[in-house]
Amino acid sequence: MSVLADQFTAHTFVDAFRFIGDNASLMLSKTGQTCELAFAALGIALALALPLGLWLGHRHRGLFLALGVSTLGRALPIIVLIAFGLTVLGVGFWNNTAALVVLGIPPILTNAYFAVDGADRDAVEAARGMGLTERQVLLRIELPLGLPLIVAGVRISAVFVIASATIAAIAGGGGLGDIIVNQASYGLAGVIAGSLCVSAVALLTALALGLVHRAVSRSTTARA
């Protein structure tokens, strides 16, 4: 059913940008809500997954967990998580945040694990030989060496969480998803405008973390 294809004219995207201009405060507040939801979830996921991944990687344990979590993370559909959260946590911010946290954890955990697990064993052994404690080995040697991979994991997670935050609108999650699912009220131009804003948020976040990734990659290569 190609209902909307006929509405398309060359002006659709122009209209979308006009829509953003005409509804600047609405777009701003919806974008803000999306960011709030996504970044809260990302922060919680980071706080949970990073220490666990680093610790497991440092002990070279839990390979199966790290691999399993990453596959399971990819396999879990966001709408199933949100629907499940709805039945357990009810509608609202926390349901959506919890769903997004679950989605955000795997890439961070897996990459942190492999970053530390794969850190140059010679360097680690040298550090131990020089009398560094395990904690110091992890924080001063393995963490800096693995930083590029860790940042790459955060980047994947961030993109994933922002994309999913939009879908949270089906469960009253607010944000730009509200506009995207409501063509009746906002029109095609509004839907496209909302989609453009979400994409912009995701792209900017990815870009920023990409720059961080480049910076830390360069510093570790320079060090090595």
Partner: protein, 238 residues
């Protein structure tokens, strides 16, 4: 004025009552599963597999062409890889909507979006696989008089295949998952029963059954591809 519709009143038949589990929105109503496997879950599963299979096949084809180009001509790698990364970054629901003006609320819209998502992983893994072929093997191949084409098919391609297959696994699992969102655009796949379950005051059995099927499908595809990869790359086990 409203036309008067005469005649006798309707006969309201018994539609059969749902089990108490169904009526009370239970977590796992086996009666429902038994009754609706054939008319709801099974067709949705088949549609889901179709959606994913087409997207993966198309993505694999496109990524292969791009990867060979990006591998041969390094200049292409940055823009092509960057574009695939860019596509991957656009949230799925946004990409669906952005495509609607061009392709409408059709399966095509869904397939284009799903295919776009596979490109990033497939392309990166293919290029990394080809680049990761050991230099000494290539030098030996050249020194032994293998032509470029022979070197590609006999040495580079097989040696890249573990990375390519790993990418295929990741892409397939992700696509099975993302395809549930396709029900926003077309009433197809395992997303559809989930949306219906949400609409019916959160009918848990339907949501869990369809969602569980999606997860199982993803994991089954992962295991099958892992098994396939082991079978076709016996040397990597050595």
């Amino acid at each position: 004025m409203i036309p008067v519709l005469g005649g006798s009143g309707p006969v309201i038949p018994s539609f059969g009552s749902g089990s108490s589990c169904e009526q009370n929105n239970g977590w796992w109503c086996t009666d429902w599963l038994r009754e609706h496997w054939g008319d709801t879950l099974q067709p949705a599963l088949v549609q889901h597999i179709e959606l994913v299979a087409i997207a993966i096949a198309a993505g694999f084809l496109i990524a292969s062409v791009l990867a060979i180009a990006g591998f041969r001509y390094r200049l292409l790698d940055v823009p092509v890889g960057g574009f695939a990364d860019f596509l991957y970054t656009i949230p799925s629901i946004a990409l669906f909507q952005l495509l609607v003006p061009f392709t409408g609320l059709t399966v095509l819209t869904v397939e284009i979006a799903l295919t776009s998502y596979t490109l990033f992983v497939l392309y990166r893994n293919m290029v990394a696989g080809l680049r990761g072929v050991p230099e000494d093997a290539l030098e030996a191949a050249r020194g032994m008089g293998l032509t470029r084409v022979q070197t590609f098919f006999r040495v580079e391609l097989p040696l890249a295949s573990p990375a390519v297959l790993a990418g295929l696994r990741i892409a397939t699992v992700s696509t099975v998952s993302i395809a549930t969102v396709a029900a926003f655009v077309v009433p197809k796949g395992l997303g559809e029963p989930i949306f219906i379950g949400l609409d019916q005051n959160l009918f848990k059995t339907e949501i869990l059954a369809a969602g569980g099927l999606a997860i199982l499908l993803a994991l089954a595809a992962d295991v099958a591809l892992a098994w396939f990869a082991r079978a076709v790359t016996p040397w990597s086990r050595a």
